[in-house]
């Protein structure tokens, strides 16, 4: 257990747990208000249809129904979209309720407010849209084809954006290199599946025009800054509260129609309005992730040198843009070189509208897509030249660097030690022994073959330097803010602009403050997730909270210490330079009995009876941190799996991960983030896929059809780490929220292909379901025959 002064770097059990363990959490559905009514949305059973009428009469006549509204009844603006990534991007207009056309299953045409949850649902089922059905297209490539149904006629095309990173280095290697490997990889749509569905509760003081929205969101500050225009409430009169939030994974990094509609209904009815999503709604109306196809080219040499990497991607955007939609592929566009050092780089993508749920940020957001194709391609290269994939990686990993280093993608990587993580992972897994066992099984022709899948990766996180976001045409900044208050009784309150949903911020931030001020984490209260309490902030996504938010906390703590030093010098009647500071106490050098603790100083700064002239009462400070760079974690993951060549079944035998996320504040929480991220990556590799039928219906529309893995599908993971401090922030921290989801899919799929490589299998698709694996084996056999 940590002692005073060294909580950072130690496991501290979570401050968040007691309420979550005893059923006292504040999830939005646990909250209600006097006079509260329930909202339900009418989502007609069409995928693509022109609306000719909406019949609300039956619903309006039902006892207990407070109101039924269509787009015509409400003067709502379009939903916010904040990342027009190119000058000529075509932006579909996206209203909270569909006006002219239904464009995907999640499109709502009316909203019902009633006295109870059940009544609202019952009434919504009686509302019918009269429509003229249109041909639908949910297949990405079909939506690009000539003659495809156009989803937004005013845009004239489904291909609404093309973004090119442009080249880096000598592009001629893609023609002239001794070895050219070309592959096409497809990654299906995924459904994020936070176990808590979305939901919100809105109410107002109509006479004042003031409204509050409690929402299961990752981004209360961004909701407040962007939703006012949609609902006609000035930002200053809008308060957004993120209570306890039951998981996000990017799916709650958005501003949704239902949030706007709940506020609109609170305005229209004058009563508190609650909406809770059910799981079927969640599958169609909450964003999906991935849904991309890449054409990939690796230029290399026969002895394993990677000379050039080129990727041309098409991305399924869905029926509208949500908050960030076309920006997600671009986020990956800076990491397609991975931890390697090619001489040439190319990345471009086209974004395509389909009659499907909008895609947006899902854990990793662009970087898992990039890492998957890169790491698959490196393995394909190794097979082509007949070299061990570990050897290829060793040859190409950038050597250790502790100062920022320019990458060929154009940004600058903060620090890295990729060989250290890779060597440690190979050692932990016993790589050479596994290769021997694999050879023996192959020689024997075993039914169950062994595969060893490697992934060495980097990620770009800690979003983000505001000037770079501006250059990328993102509408907001990437700073964060923290206010530290030292209360006169000796406790410390932190008000911070990050907004967690399971990450343990209250504990981690308390550890940092406790060390700085000489108190214990129990003395520190962390307040966040409420724009009225912590008004400055940019919220939680992109593994940014520790590297941006906690750095703002660190800087505010430094200000507190400076202010306290001034007051201590005044009270002890010495010069500030005559003081030394340790364990929260200023002591006069050489006179240890002359001392003031931070708590003493907080009290005297509060009563302010005898403070220096010009000294502001209270021991309180705010800092805002805008990072000079992203942070760039890296590491190596190795998956060992057994593939049944008769059934196609895959079983993961071992999963080893060695990650480097810079300085670690709480190892227990870092490991927890990795466990969850890796599990989601394994799910992506082996189980999960959102499937649409030919008519555009989501076939995997229930949890019984979309395979979120359980405890028996996820193996015990073996973790280790190295710590190479980031040069981006004074804490040296990098972030760990997305690493597992970025590294695991290629490690797992590479292991499956590796198990079958001697049979001639080069791809099994993702997810590598038994059927796909079995088919790949049969195809390879057929090819050989």
């Amino acid at each position: 257990m940590a002692t005073t002064g060294n909580y950072v770097g130690s496991t501290v059990l979570r401050k968040e747990d007691p309420e979550l363990l005893t059923g006292q959490a504040s999830y939005v559905d646990n909250q209600s208000m006097p006079g509260m009514v329930w909202m339900a949305l009418v989502r007609p059973p069409y995928v693509h249809a022109r609306i000719t009428g909406i019949d609300t009469a039956a619903a309006k006549a039902m006892p207990g129904v407070v109101g039924v509204y269509t787009a015509e009844d409400l003067e709502l603006g379009a939903l916010p979209f904040v990342w027009p990534i190119t000058e000529d991007i075509k932006v579909p207009v996206h209203y909270p309720l569909a006006k002219d056309k239904i464009r995907f299953h999640g499109d709502a045409v009316a909203v019902v407010v009633a006295e109870t949850r059940g009544l609202a649902r019952d009434a919504a089922e009686t509302v019918h849209a009269q429509v003229e059905e249109l041909p639908a297209v949910t297949d990405l490539e079909a939506a690009m084809a000539d003659g495809a149904p156009v989803i937004h006629e005013d845009l004239g095309t489904n291909v609404t954006v093309h973004w090119s990173h442009g080249g880096g280095g000598d592009q001629s290697v893609f023609e002239s290199a001794p070895v050219i490997v070309e592959e096409r990889y497809s990654q299906p749509r995924l459904i994020p599946n936070a176990i808590e569905p979305r939901g919100c509760l809105a109410w107002g003081v109509p006479a004042m025009g003031e409204y509050t929205l409690i929402s299961a969101t990752q981004i209360p500050h961004i909701v407040r800054a962007t939703l006012g225009g949609t609902v006609g409430i000035p930002e200053s009169k809008l308060r957004i509260v993120a209570p306890d939030v039951g998981g996000g994974f990017g799916s709650k990094l958005n501003v949704y129609a239902e949030e706007a509609l709940a506020l609109a209904m609170a305005k229209a009815t004058g009563r508190p309005v609650k909406w809770i999503e059910d799981r079927q709604e969640n599958y169609v109306a909450t964003i999906h992730g991935r849904g991309v196809i890449h054409d990939c080219t690796l230029a290399g040499t026969e002895d394993g040198q990677i000379l050039g990497l080129k990727f041309v991607e098409i991305a399924d955007l869905g029926a509208y843009y949500q908050l960030l939609t076309p920006g997600i592929p671009e986020l990956g566009g800076w990491v397609y070189m991975g931890p390697y050092d090619p001489q040439a780089y190319w990345y471009e993508f086209s974004g395509v509208l389909t009659n499907a749920t909008p895609t947006d940020a899902y854990r990793g957001a662009g970087r898992p897509e990039a890492t998957y194709v890169l790491e698959r391609l490196v393995d394909a290269f190794a097979r082509r030249i007949g070299m061990d994939p570990a050897e290829v990686r060793r040859k190409n990993l950038v050597p250790r660097f502790t100062e920022a280093r320019p990458a060929i993608s154009g940004l600058s990587v903060d620090s890295g030690d990729y060989h250290a993580t890779f060597d440690r992972a190979l050692e932990m897994v016993g790589y050479e022994d596994l290769r021997r066992e694999q050879a023996e099984r192959r020689d024997r022709g075993d039914v169950k073959q062994l595969g060893i899948g490697l992934c060495t990766y980097i990620e770009m996180c800690g979003l983000a330097p505001s000037n770079i976001l501006g250059a990328l045409r993102y509408a907001a900044g990437g700073w964060d803010a923290c206010t530290v208050q030292c209360l006169p009784g000796g406790e410390v309150v932190l008000k911070i602009g990050t907004s967690p949903h399971g990450q343990g911020h209250a504990t981690t931030w308390a550890q940092i403050a406790a060390d700085a001020l000489g108190v214990t984490p129990d003395d520190v209260r962390v307040l966040h997730g409420d724009t009225a309490v912590a008004p400055l902030g940019m919220d939680t996504y992109g593994s940014r909270s520790v590297s941006v938010g906690a750095t703002a906390l660190h800087l505010a703590l430094e200000k507190i210490k400076e202010k306290a030093r001034t007051l201590a010098a005044h009270e002890l009647e010495v010069a500030e330079d005559d003081l030394e500071f340790a364990n929260g106490t200023y002591t006069v050098k050489g006179a240890p009995d002359k001392a003031r603790t931070i708590a003493d100083l907080a009290a005297s700064a509060w009563h302010a009876h005898a403070i220096p002239e010009g000294f502001e009462p209270n021991l309180e400070a705010t800092a805002v941190f805008d990072p000079p760079n992203f942070t760039w974690p890296g590491g190596a993951h190795i998956c060992v799996s057994e593939v049944d060549t008769e059934t196609g079944a895959v079983e993961i035998l071992r999963y080893v991960a060695v990650d480097d996320c810079g300085t670690v504040i709480n190892p227990m929480i870092v490991e927890g983030q990795l466990h969850g991220g890796i599990a989601q990556g394994i799910a992506e590799a082996l189980y999960e896929e959102a499937i649409y039928d030919d008519h555009g219906n989501l076939v995997t529309s229930l949890m019984t059809q979309y395979l979120v893995p359980g405890a028996t599908e996820i193996p015990a993971m073996e973790l280790d780490r190295t710590e190479t401090p980031s040069t981006t922030n004074p804490l040296g921290v990098k972030g760990i929220g997305e690493a597992g989801t970025i590294a695991a899919p290629p490690a797992v799929v590479n292991s499956v292909v590796d198990a079958l490589a001697h049979l001639g299998v080069t791809d099994v698709g993702k997810p590598a379901t038994p059927e796909r694996v079995w088919s790949a084996i049969r195809r390879a056999e057929g090819g050989a025959a």
């Binding site: 979570r14 363990l21 949850r117 059940g118 998981g247 929480i669 949890m703 979120v708 359980g710 597992g740």
Partner: protein, 158 residues
């Protein structure tokens, strides 16, 4: 309306409810016991797991009317005299929860399972959690928590 008399966490509650009322909404909305969460409405995720006469059930797939005359235990009934149940304590000490949404269901499923099998193996715990999904932890520390609690509970009984 259906009349329901049910003992929840040791206290008898009587209420008239719509016949279609699910047990989970009876607990949450009629009794104000919001510790039991709803994740899917289709008995897939297990967030709503409670004990019915000591055995784990998914309260989103039972009607309130079906529990008339029976005993229900929810997460709110697990601590005694302010002391957390060994499973709650083990989840805390082993970081067996992150967002916490699946946690009450996980704990109730584990309570029921450890009654059947007080000293399970890791593999058995994983199989026992078949009906409960978690999206945050990768199950590793949930499994560790349950094994830890099993050890302590077995020790306490000796």
């Amino acid at each position: 309306m259906a009349h329901v008399a049910v003992t929840v966490n040791g206290a008898l509650h009587e209420a008239d409810v719509e016949p279609r009322t699910l047990l989970v909404y009876f607990l949450r909305e009629s009794l104000g016991l919001t510790g039991t969460n709803v994740g899917c409405d289709t008995s897939s995720c297990g967030s709503c797991t409670v004990l019915l006469d000591g055995e784990s059930v998914k309260s989103c797939t039972l009607l309130a009317a079906q529990v008339d005359g029976r005993e229900v235990t929810t997460i709110e009934g697990m601590a005694t005299d302010g002391e957390m149940h060994p499973l709650q304590d083990a989840f805390h000490r082993n970081h067996g929860l992150q967002c916490g949404y699946c946690t009450p269901g996980m704990i109730m499923a584990a309570v029921s399972y450890l009654t059947e099998n007080p000293s399970p193996t890791e593999e058995e715990v994983r199989e026992a959690l078949e009906g409960n999904l978690c999206r945050c932890t990768g199950y590793q520390n949930i499994v560790a928590s349950i094994l830890d609690a099993a050890g302590r509970m077995a020790g306490a009984k000796v």
